[in-house]
Amino acid sequence: MASKVIHAYYDDDDVLMHAVKKVKAANHHIEEVYCPFPVHGLDKAMGLAPTRIAITSFMYGCLGLIVAIVMMNYIMITDWPQDIGGKPSFSYMENMPAFVPIMFEMTVFFAAHLMVITFYLRSRLWPFKKAENPDVRTTDDHFVMEIGIHDNEAALKELLSDTGAVEINSLEK
């Protein structure tokens, strides 16, 4: 990462999208874009890799299903196969319909919660975390594009001012 960066400010998401495409076309690496709200298609324009969080969720769901099956099989069939109201506790399959609500809920529980935790870990979010926004306006009505400077400050600034930036600052990081 460059030690000096440029922050280009925009006040419209359409202008920002065009700017991102233009900067990408000029082969500059965009370090980060700060937005007050999700801008549809920004990830594609920046060339970010698609998320794999749905895949982790599927695996967590499978894990939850296995946990439910193993738990109910051990408790209800293996450990103490008691006759409760005539339910057939001879094998797991015979009494399976009674376990399905648990199997379903455990699958959803694992899939949802572990996915959320994965999201927090991967995006480094936790309580008391120091906020990373470079300018408070990025949470309200401004967009900031951050680009590293590699001895090309003047050219970069010119390019960025062409893209409709309302403010361009360079700063040490």
Binding site: F58, G86, V100
Partner: protein, 434 residues
């Protein structure tokens, strides 16, 4: 404009002819006397090691009971071609009705993605007329005692059955046919008017036809939910007149809804592959596949909701329904859960797969086969019991109605441009991407 390709037309006519032959063989080979039925069962039992007769003689049952059993089997064997006809007729009719419900939902919710597919849906719902007539004729023939699919229609049976006597106020042939006529009339009326307004909207210079369509669609959905529920009691649940279930109407609805959506997707993909729907993109198919996925799970939810409640409480008057199915229909009964739930769940979960057209077609074929089995499992255990088999009459029924369905649907598709011109949402639908 779409032109009905000759190959498809000839193919559908061949299907109808083959199906009619299959059904004819079924009717001809059904036994006409109790003796014939006994011979048929005996011939079958030889192959299976003679379980039936041996078990009966072992218990030393009375001769009178044997005779009534023979007659029972005779009726079951006689019912088989009728049931094969009825299951196939209802299955294809229910696809058209499911598409009609989906179409009305799209209209009433003013969905922005689907107007591009309205003509495809209207083409499929055109089958309501011939399909509805076929089902209605079968129901009339049942009332005329041509078959024994509906036990409560038989005055002798009702005379000895207190339960059926108490239900006679609802389950009587006249009222039954009047209800069927009202439902079919209402569905077809909505379909014809909606189609009329839809075509008129293309030529109009204001949106009044669109608004009329919105209003009648909302009204239709109210009528549909009530009539569909009662239709499922009448046409399906009443083959088991001693049994009742409250969520049955929803269950049948889910089955027809998912089959209908699947057929919309398959017909759209077919027409797209022939170049007739240039503005339908993978995102439209993706949305339909999402519906196929979601409603498949909804169907499973209702299937399991019905099964598990009855299994858990195990009240004898309700549970016989599932006892007969699990004993005599184990493979179709649980096989359809795999086909209608596990298969679409694993295949259509991935977002990328929903955009792969041949993948959607493949999943669609399994879903449709699964829902045919679903209707099969609803009707057959009551009408033919353990004498079921998916043989010539059943396949003949499927082929005949599949041929009729393809012929009628694609014939209707030739009658109007495949893409609406002047719908307020048509541009949004054209640009739709996900």
């Amino acid at each position: 404009m779409y032109t009905f390709s000759n190959r498809l037309k000839i193919g559908s006519i061949i299907l109808m002819i083959l199906g009619a032959i299959g059904l004819g063989i079924g009717f001809v080979s059904a036994p006409s006397t109790v003796e014939e039925a006994k011979e048929m069962v005996a011939a079958q039992d030889d192959g299976h090691g003679g379980g039936h007769e041996a078990a009966a003689s072992e218990h030393g049952e009375e001769v009178a009971h044997d005779a009534s059993h023979d007659e029972h089997v005779f009726h079951q064997l006689q019912n088989r071609p009728w049931s094969a006809l009825y299951v196939a007729a209802f299955f294809f009719f229910m696809i058209a009705l499911g598409v009609l419900a989906f179409y009305a939902v799209q209209r009433a919710s003013q969905a922005g993605w689907s107007p591009m597919l309205f003509r495809v849906m209207e083409g499929i719902t055109a089958y309501l007329v011939p399909g509805g007539i076929a089902v209605f004729v079968i129901l009339v023939l049942s009332v005329l005692h041509m078959n024994h699919m509906f036990p409560w229609m038989d005055a002798d049976v009702v005379a000895h059955d207190k339960l059926l006597q108490n239900k006679a106020g609802y389950l009587n042939p006249t009222f039954f046919l009047i209800r069927a006529a009202i439902f079919l009339g209402g569905w077809i009326l909505y379909r014809e008017y909606s189609r009329k307004f839809s075509l008129a909207q293309d030529e109009a210079d204001d949106n009044s036809n669109f608004k009329k369509n919105f209003r009648i669609s909302a009204a239709f959905l109210v009528f549909y939910l009530i009539s569909e529920s009662i239709m499922s009691w009448d046409w399906i649940m009443s083959v088991d007149p001693h049994w009742f279930s409250t969520l049955f109407g929803w269950y049948v609805f889910a089955s027809m809804f998912v089959s209908g959506i699947t057929v919309i997707a398959m017909v759209s993909i077919y027409l797209k592959s022939k170049g007739y729907l240039p503005d339908v993109n993978d995102s439209h198919i993706h949305d339909l596949a999402k519906f196929m996925f979601g409603i498949s799970i909804f169907w499973t939810y209702l299937w399991f909701g019905q099964f598990m409640l009855i299994w858990y409480a195990n009240i004898p008057e309700e549970v016989t329904y599932f006892v007969t199915r699990i004993e005599d229909y184990k493979l179709p009964f649980f096989g359809m859960v795999a086909m209608n739930f596990v298969f679409p769940l694993l295949l259509l979960m991935n977002s990328d797969y929903k955009r792969v057209n041949w993948f959607v077609i493949m999943a669609g074929i399994v879903i449709l086969a699964g829902h045919y089995l679903d209707v099969f499992n609803m009707i057959m255990p009551a009408t033919v019991g353990d004498q079921w088999y998916i043989g010539i009459p059943e396949i003949g029924g499927i082929l005949f109605f599949a041929g009729l369905f393809i012929f009628w649907v694609f014939r209707t598709l030739t009658k109007a441009p495949l893409q609406p011109k002047r719908n307020p949402y048509i541009e949004e639908s054209r640009q739709f991407h996900y």
